[in-house]
């Protein structure tokens, strides 16, 4: 026994031998982990040095590693020029990964039931270490992903990279745009606040307008006539299971086409333009995935992460969270997510009315009057919500789908396809114009008193009234037209700003609030919209550290002569946050 142990010990190599043995051992392990690279080679890759062995072990990685095998071994240099792709597709994928990771973390804390959903969001923000950061990352990543998907689409369109072998890839790309929008849309509801609840209610109500199957579709989507327990759970499962899977499937198809079938397109100028041979040669030179592009992509990851963190650190982005969803109270200014504003704008157009207004005056003289026919009443037959909500958007998306099949022009250079370029630019303008029309400020008439008060202290969000420091809220009754905004507080009044510690003289913020209140109402009175105006701002100490501000507007209705009252009040606690 002792002998055999002694023998074994004597077998252990020493000195140089031992070092070599250990080195080989480690090297073998590293080769297994890196799917083919030795330590020396790994070091060379990270330093950007040429391969250390022959044949190039870096290509071996592509065949042995699953992750790496998804990628091409090399790219033609021209397709990697920054000004050609702007890395838009790459960043879309990056944000998708951000969404997957942050989403998994948020799922740990989120509860998808109406009673607790909103509370669990507050819990994430108030009680989870770096919880707000996770939520902000998820929200910011989502907005960025939608934005980059659109930009990627426009880049592909303008460089003509959807032609020939790439037609099917374009198709999957449009599908991914729709999937991204749906992922983002379903996520909107989960916070269960007024913003999400009403954006989804308005959005999904379009399904209801559909023919024959409308009510049934609505029921399947919402789980009940209105969004409730069933609806939230459905949207949640859509958001965290079904559509991430669908997205991964189509991203795979989309990328597989790019990586295995046709590669990233070369700039059109290289393919078709008259550039000199040197330039062409350069564009066609191989750039290896490992190390050049891998290094570049790790660099892009570091740019992406740093950009996200800096945006959040400097508070340039905040995830909105409005008050708890209330199915009984429709908010005054309902707003869809920005990438659906164009849809909201579409819904404000009534095509039947437009056709009536155009056609009836023309027909009136020669036909309708002599023949005694009634004027055309299209709006009775055509439901505008149905047309603009259910017919037009699918047609728009449909056109996007079939662009490569409509556009048979094989040329990719912009000057050889001027019509397509103009068409693309026109679409950008149409989308922007429709988005502008989709804003709540456009085309919706709000009564004067309501508008003034809503601008001062919106139902959701802050507004300048809620931003007023507690110290400035001096109890009293202030009457519009009588109280001078500048004389609203005693001349010797001052307080210490609790954030900056600076001495503030007077009450500049409250003065501004009252001035805006007065100006808005007095202007409306002058315009005859609020005759016999009597308006007050009442500030009352309602409890310890609790102020109640009431805004009252009384006027005579110009049409009926009846006395009208519009009043709103707000409770403001000393410890409230003065920022959004």
């Amino acid at each position: 026994m002792l002998n055999s142990l002694r023998q074994r010990l004597s077998n252990i190599p020493r000195g140089e031998d031992l070092r070599n043995r250990i080195r080989t051992l480690i090297d073998d392990r590293v080769r297994i982990i890196t799917a083919g690279l030795s330590i020396r080679e790994l070091r060379a890759v990270l330093r950007g040095d040429p391969p250390t062995e022959k044949p190039n072990p870096r290509y071996k990685v592509i065949t042995t590693s699953f992750i790496a095998h998804l990628r091409p071994r090399y790219y033609p240099q021209g397709s990697t020029w920054f000004t050609h792709t702007f890395r838009l597709g790459w960043f879309t994928t990056f944000f998708f990964m951000v969404e997957l990771i942050t989403g998994l973390v948020l799922m740990v804390y989120y509860v998808p039931f109406p009673d607790q959903a909103y509370g669990s969001i507050l819990e994430i923000e108030s009680n989870v270490f770096l919880g707000e950061l996770w939520r902000d990352l998820h929200r910011l990543g989502a907005e960025a992903m939608v934005l980059f998907t659109w930009l990627h689409l426009f880049r592909t369109y303008f460089t003509g990279s959807y032609k020939g072998a790439r037609t099917f890839t374009w198709l999957t790309g449009v599908l991914l745009l729709a999937i991204t929008a749906w992922l983002s849309f379903t996520g909107y509801l989960l916070t269960w606040d007024q913003l999400g609840y009403w954006a989804i209610t308005v959005g999904s109500s379009m399904a209801e307008a559909g023919p024959v199957f409308g009510p049934a579709t609505n029921l399947i989507l919402r789980g009940a006539p209105d969004i409730g327990v069933g609806g939230l759970l459905r949207f949640y499962l859509n958001h965290v299971v079904l559509f991430p899977l669908v997205a991964i499937l189509f991203i795979s198809i989309h990328y597989y086409k790019v990586s295995r079938e046709h590669g990233i397109s070369l700039p059109a100028a290289i393919e078709e333009g008259d550039v000199n041979d040197n330039k062409k040669k350069e564009a066609n030179r191989r750039v290896d995935l490992i190390p050049d592009l891998l290094t570049h992509e790790i660099f892009l990851v570091s740019v992406g992460i740093l950009a996200l963190l800096l945006i959040l650190y400097f508070d340039l982005f905040n995830s909105p969270l409005e008050t708890h969803a209330n199915p009984q109270a429709t908010p005054l200014d309902t707003k869809a997510p920005w990438y659906f504003w164009w849809l909201q704008g579409l819904l404000k157009i009534d095509p039947a009315k437009i056709i009536e207004n155009l056609v009836n005056p023309i027909l009136a003289l020669p036909l309708l009057k002599p023949l005694g026919l009634p004027p055309l009443e299209l709006s009775r037959l055509l439901n505008s919500k149905f047309i603009m909500g259910l017919i037009v958007p699918p047609v728009v998306v449909g056109i996007l789908f079939v662009i490569p099949y409509i556009d048979r022009n094989p040329a990719r250079l912009a000057r050889k396809r001027p019509f397509a370029i103009l068409w693309g630019i026109a679409w950008i303008f149409i989308l922007l114009a429709l988005s502008y029309m989709g804003l709540p400020q456009f085309g919706i008439e709000t009564p004067a008193a309501t508008r003034v008060i809503q601008d001062l202290a919106p139902e959701e969000g802050m507004g300048i009234l809620r931003e007023t420091p507690y110290e400035e809220l001096l109890p009293g009754i202030y009457t519009v037209g009588e109280t001078d905004p500048d004389g609203i507080c005693p001349s010797d009044f001052s307080y210490r700003n609790r954030e900056t510690g600076e001495e503030v003289i007077g009450c500049p913020h409250l003065t501004e609030v009252f001035a805006q209140f007065s100006e808005g109402l007095l202007r409306a009175e002058e315009e005859g919209r609020l005759p016999d105006l009597h308006a007050t701002m009442l500030i009352e100490q309602f409890g310890p550290e609790l102020i109640r501000v009431e805004l009252d507007v009384i006027w005579t209705d110009p049409e009926t002569g009846a006395t009208k009252i519009y009043a709103k009040h707000y409770f403001l606690h000393e410890d409230r946050s003065l920022e959004e």
């Binding site: 707000e132 009926t560 009846a562």
Partner: protein, 269 residues
């Protein structure tokens, strides 16, 4: 230097920078969490005040001062000093309030003082959705936070300010509007800009409708009768016996006068 080297260098710097930003954020996080909690509490109190105003003022008074013979004061020293011992509640005051508001009171604990001894329906209705009431748990918690916030005043009654009146005291319509809030009409009847309650009929345009009711001398007579004797005419779609029948005992003649004038100002557009 080749581009790849520049990218390696910059990438390393960016990753270090990102880590620094993250570490700074993590270092500030406990402070942010604490601040968020304070602000959250403040917003909960504000929200509670709004919920209280819509649901509780008809019995507990516009400023939680209570209505004699009906329901107790909720900002008075008694609630904070001795109430828990009186009912033998072992937990915190806030939890006690949550419990009472959620489940309501079938039988009064102080029948000699407040409603509950053969005077009308059970003392305090159940408010929680779980027991058929209208409020969610977070709303009830907020109401409790709002009431507990009165502790400062309950302990130092001398700091309590005299309430301001949100009215033009020469204008009966404006006074009537205050009465509408103070007597709790706001809890059941919707009026644009004041309340969105749906228990009773919405009152926008009530003056115009009052003109059309037959069997009354005038619109004013109809409104006055409907307040004092609500069973005489019940608007279609609403049940009889829901509106309290004791307003004749509660409301002063002057307040009633103003309230009627206020409702008469609500003509149809």
């Amino acid at each position: 230097m080749k581009r790849i080297h520049l990218e390696i260098a910059l990438g390393t710097i960016f990753i270090i920078l990102s880590s620094v930003v993250l570490i700074v954020m993590a270092a500030e996080e406990p402070g942010r969490l604490a601040r968020f909690e304070v602000e959250q509490r403040a917003e909960q109190i504000e929200f509670g005040a709004a919920v209280f105003e819509i649901n509780c003022t008809s019995c507990h008074g516009s400023h939680a001062q209570g209505i004699p013979g009906k329901a107790p004061c909720l900002r008075c020293p008694e609630l904070f000093a001795s109430r828990l011992a009186e009912v033998g509640w072992p937990g915190s005051l806030e939890d006690y309030i949550v419990s009472v508001v959620s489940t309501g009171r079938q039988v009064s604990t102080r029948p000699a003082l407040y409603q509950g001894e053969g005077k009308g329906p059970p003392v305090m209705p159940t408010w929680s959705e779980r027991f058929g009431g209208p409020l969610r748990d977070d709303q009830i918690r907020a109401v409790a936070a709002f009431i507990v916030n009165f502790q400062g005043w309950a302990e130092n009654p001398e700091v309590v300010p005299t309430p301001l009146v949100a009215v033009d005291i020469n204008d009966p319509v404006s006074l009537g509007r205050v009465a509408f809030v103070q007597y709790g009409c706001i809890g059941c009847h919707a009026i644009d800009g004041l309340s969105q309650a749906t228990t009773g009929p919405a009152l926008d345009g009530v003056a115009t409708r009052a003109e059309t009711r037959t069997g009354y001398e005038s619109a004013e007579d109809y409104i006055r009768t409907s307040i004092l004797n609500p069973g005489e005419f019940v608007v279609e779609g609403f049940g009889d016996g829901i509106m309290p029948t004791n307003f004749s005992e509660l409301i002063s003649e002057a307040d009633l006068e103003n309230l009627v004038l206020f409702l008469l100002s609500l003509t149809e557009p």
